[in-house]
């Protein structure tokens, strides 16, 4: 195993640990917020943790567990992480507004920007990997 491979594995493991912590934090935040919401339920708040779980913890956990030396390029990983952050924050914001009983047209910005960043990150990383070969 090359030094660069070990670095990539370390990066994946670090990402896995960070996303695991973020997932737990967002899950606990959502539950605590709901406890004080006087019974008003928002799935956006309760399920916000699914973004870091499904898009961060799980994929980076699999990479780490299988000891694969794959880690996205810096540009790809930066936008991918930004996409997850945007979708997660957007879901929490929507939850806050749901529980208060209000709406904002700006919430769709989180959704579309987050998805765009996510797709860009995946496509860029895939292209980088292909052209490196």
């Amino acid at each position: 195993m090359y030094t660069s491979d070990i670095d990539k594995l370390k990066s994946s493991k670090k990402c896995f640990m960070v996303y695991l912590a973020v997932t737990v934090f967002v899950l606990v935040f959502g539950i605590v917020y709901e406890i004080f919401s006087h019974g008003v339920i928002s799935l956006n708040m309760l399920l916000a943790f699914m973004f870091p779980l499904l898009l961060g913890t799980l994929p980076f956990g699999v990479i780490t567990f299988l000891k694969k030396n794959y880690y996205p390029s810096p540009a790809g990983s930066n936008t991918y992480h930004a996409g997850i952050a945007t979708l997660t924050v957007g879901s929490i914001m929507k939850g806050v507004l749901d529980i208060y009983g209000t709406t904002s047209s700006y919430i769709s910005v989180y959704k579309y920007l987050g998805l765009a960043l996510l797709v860009f990150g995946v496509v860029w990383s895939a292209l980088t990997a292909i052209f490196k070969k």
Partner: protein, 296 residues
């Protein structure tokens, strides 16, 4: 360090944007100017034809009769104002600071005093929603649809009608002379029976909470209902419990207005119920609008 620069800058931008969204929703005041029809007249009602008889729980003159009763059901204190009017013109609405817009709020009791209201309850808090038809005192203030809610239409004859949003035709409402249209909901009672969509708002309707509702028993005979909640002495109601309570009052058509901390009933210069703010603190909250009974 350079490695984390993108993440840091993106985090700052995301935070700044989120702060702006929060300010836009909860703080920044925006006033909108409605288009008032050329033929619109401000209706001033005739003064009382006889000297009013006023007690702590009732008011009566030749045009308006109000009686307040307190009930206990579902471990909840419920306040009912039974209202009989000589004309629907005495059933009025008002906006906070007399302005239609966003984040413009005032306490129910303050608005009621400014308007000389005999009886007032909080309205539908239209200001928290970006969409939903708003017609008040015959003027169309907002025609945008899209919030998927039930509407209460009060006609020029004083009749109540509950309409689901997909069946709403704003132009038709205007041409038919609807005097008030509320867009909160859900509907509670229709034709004397519990409305089929009473559980439609599962996110807010299934939990015990303070609630405000308005109903029509008969021609020009209405009930304003407010219940307390979130306290040790009063649990609050689900929308279905509220509907059942109003059905038991003999209401023909009833509609749920904004609840929670907004739920307030004002009568004869005093707040009747125990409104909550910041969760369970007994304090009156500021709202966008009120429904009231009065002469001006």
């Amino acid at each position: 360090m350079k490695k984390y620069l993108f993440g840091f800058l993106f985090g700052v931008l995301l935070t700044a944007f989120s702060v702006y969204v929060i300010l836009d929703v909860f703080v920044i005041v925006r006033v909108y100017t409605p288009v008032i029809p050329e033929n619109h007249e401000n209706v001033t009602m005739e003064p009382p034809s006889s000297e009013p008889i006023v007690t702590d729980t009732s008011y009566s003159d030749g045009n308006i009769s109000i009686e307040i009763t307190t009930h206990r059901a579902y471990k909840t204190n419920i306040y009912v104002a039974d209202v009989k009017l000589a004309s629907v013109g005495y059933l009025k609405t008002a906006f906070a600071k007399d302005s239609f817009g966003k984040n413009i709020t005032e306490k129910t009791s303050e608005m009621a005093e400014e308007k000389g209201a005999l009886l007032a309850i909080n309205g539908d808090f239209y200001g928290t929603l970006e969409k939903g038809c708003v017609i008040r005192n015959g003027i169309l203030y907002r025609s945008t649809l899209g919030n998927g809610r039930d509407y209460l239409v009060i006609g020029k004859d004083g009749s109540f009608e509950i309409v689901y949003e997909k069946d709403i035709d704003v132009d038709d409402l205007v041409s038919r002379g609807a005097i008030h249209v509320f867009s909160f909901g859900p509907g509670l009672i229709l034709d004397g029976e519990i409305y089929s969509g009473v559980d439609r708002y599962q996110g807010i309707g299934l939990s015990d909470n303070p609630r405000t509702a308005i109903g029509m028993i008969d021609e020009l005979h209405y009930v304003f209902v407010v219940c307390d909640g979130r306290t040790s002495e009063s649990d609050g109601l689900t929308t279905r419990e509220l509907a059942q309570f109003m059905k038991d009052l003999g209401v023909d058509c009833a509609y749920n207005l904004d609840g929670g901390g907004s739920s307030t009933m004002y009568f004869n210069g005093k707040i009747v119920n125990k409104p909550t703010t910041y969760g369970d603190k007994i304090k009156e909250r500021s709202v966008s609008d009120i429904v009231y009974i009065g002469y001006r």
